[in-house]
């Protein structure tokens, strides 16, 4: 068969539109996921029994179910249960927030607890309250250790957005699917889609590499 570049040229505007949505979902979802993940991770690491149990329940619930089921639940089941209407975009972003949040919580917990306990004691011994010890003493050391696993999670979440094809969000994979259904040029379209994903994850990897290089790992 011959590879027809004009197919790609024709499809590109729509695909780029899809990529834009993919980035939007991933970005918004990961920002929220970081917030949720930090809170849940710190609750797990330093919270009292009820707080830790709540965080544990959340993390296990999310890690134990597929993301497709989670987004279906948010999009189709939540409106029935709570009578809230969610549009596909909101459902997609929420799914990434909730899903990435659980994995990030474990990353945060692991990184904080990996910091030598002597540092915590040195901070407390100066008369600092615990929250300042977490923010100024343990946090900066833990944060550096989080960058590699966080980078990994960012890439996973970015690719997970392709699963939102099931609720009809017009992200990159969905765009590819729709164009393919119209012109049947599977090779060109899926090659282009794959390359666009590679460009996005590649850029992300590059940013993380630079960040890692800039920060001394402690």
């Amino acid at each position: 068969m011959d590879f027809d570049w004009t197919v790609i040229a024709d499809a590109l505007p729509a695909l780029l539109n899809g990529a834009r949505l993919t980035i939007l979902i991933a970005l918004a979802g990961l920002v929220g996921g970081l917030v949720v993940g930090f809170i849940a991770g710190l609750m797990r690491a330093y919270g009292n029994t009820p707080l830790s149990a709540i965080a544990f329940g959340y993390i296990e619930l999310i890690r134990g179910t597929p993301i497709v089921v989670q987004v279906m639940f948010i999009y189709f089941a939540l409106p029935v249960l709570a009578e809230v209407r969610v549009n596909p975009m909101t459902a997609a972003i929420t799914a990434i927030v909730v899903n990435a949040g659980a994995y990030i919580a474990e990353i945060v917990r692991g990184a904080f607890l990996s910091v030598h306990k002597g540092l915590k004691e040195a901070g407390l011994a100066l008369g600092l309250p615990m929250w300042k010890v977490l923010v100024y003493v343990i946090g900066p050391v833990a944060f550096r250790r989080m960058i590699p696993p966080l980078g990994n999670q960012f890439i996973v979440s970015l690719k997970d957005t392709s699963l939102f094809i099931v609720i009809g969000v017009g992200e990159l994979t969905r765009q590819g699917q729709e164009i393919m259904a119209a012109n049947f040029r599977a090779v060109e379209i899926w090659t282009a889609v794959a390359v666009l994903y590679l460009i996005m994850t590649g850029t992300l990897t590059l940013i993380l590499r630079i960040t890692e290089k800039r920060m001394r790992i402690l």
Binding site: H116, G118, L119, E121, A122, G123, L124, A125, L126, G127, L128, P129, K132, Y136, V137, P140, V141, R144, R216, L218
Partner: protein, 242 residues
């Protein structure tokens, strides 16, 4: 007034009793050297003073404040009792200067300029005036421990606690730390020092305490006790550390 006052202090980890009704008064200006076999409770006794460990029974007053008086009072106690650890525990993300300036900025509300000037003076005092911009990983063990001493001094404590400050150091680096501690003692700082450095105990200590199995079994003048240890177990212990 006593700077530190143990009143029948009991401490246990689970079912292991580590401190057994310890009574101990320490006055301002004393340099107490604490010795004893491994596991006898020396570190625990020290860590109860600044509430890194919570006592289970009795009471413990630091500068008149009980370690049981609540969180904010515990923070006051910790600011009165500086601590130096065996493993230095410097903050690795901060330079030597930042390590020393950190405490005053965070707990004493000092301005950055104020804290930095004071930190620079303290580094000079421990002989590290030219090392302020080095990170802990770029310093030798002896230098790190001297930065740690400066960090503890920066919050202007009334009392300094040392838990085996030279044990993690190579022999040739120990004297630089001991010298700093000696000059601190000569300035009149109240100090409690867990150490195996008997020369330091003899030369700098004003009081020697021998702990065994969670109890203080000998308490007296270092020179007397070290030259003529009447307690047989102290005598045996000293033979092992020499």
């Amino acid at each position: 007034m006593n700077v530190v006052e143990f009143r029948k202090v009991t401490k246990a980890f689970g079912r292991i009793v580590v401190l057994r009704e310890v009574d101990l008064n320490i006055e301002a200006g004393e340099v107490v050297v604490l010795i004893g076999p491994s596991g006898s409770g020396k570190s625990t006794l020290l860590r109860c003073i600044n509430a890194l460990e919570q006592i289970d029974g009795g009471d413990l007053l630091v500068d008149g404040i009980s370690v049981k008086a609540g969180r904010s009072q515990v923070r006051v106690i910790r600011q009165e009792a500086g601590m130096v650890f065996q493993q230095f525990n410097l903050f690795p993300q901060m330079t030597a200067l930042e390590n020393v300036a950190f405490g005053p900025r965070q707990v004493r509300g000092a301005s950055k300029a104020e804290a930095t000037t004071q930190a620079q003076a303290l580094l000079a005092k421990v002989g590290l005036a030219d090392r302020g911009h080095h990170y802990p990983s770029e310093l030798s063990g002896g230098q790190q421990q001297r930065v740690a001493i400066a960090r503890a001094l920066a919050i202007k404590p009334k009392l300094m606690l040392f838990d085996e400050p030279t044990s993690a150091l190579d022999p040739e680096l120990r004297h630089e730390v001991l010298r700093v501690m000696q000059s601190l003692a000569e300035e009149g700082m109240t100090m409690i020092v867990v150490t195996h450095e008997m020369a330091f105990a003899r030369k700098v200590g004003t009081r020697l305490i021998f702990m065994e199995d969670g109890r203080i079994s000998v308490d007296g003048n270092p020179t007397t006790l070290l030259s003529n240890p009447e307690n047989p177990r102290l005598r045996e212990f000293l033979q092992h550390v020499h």
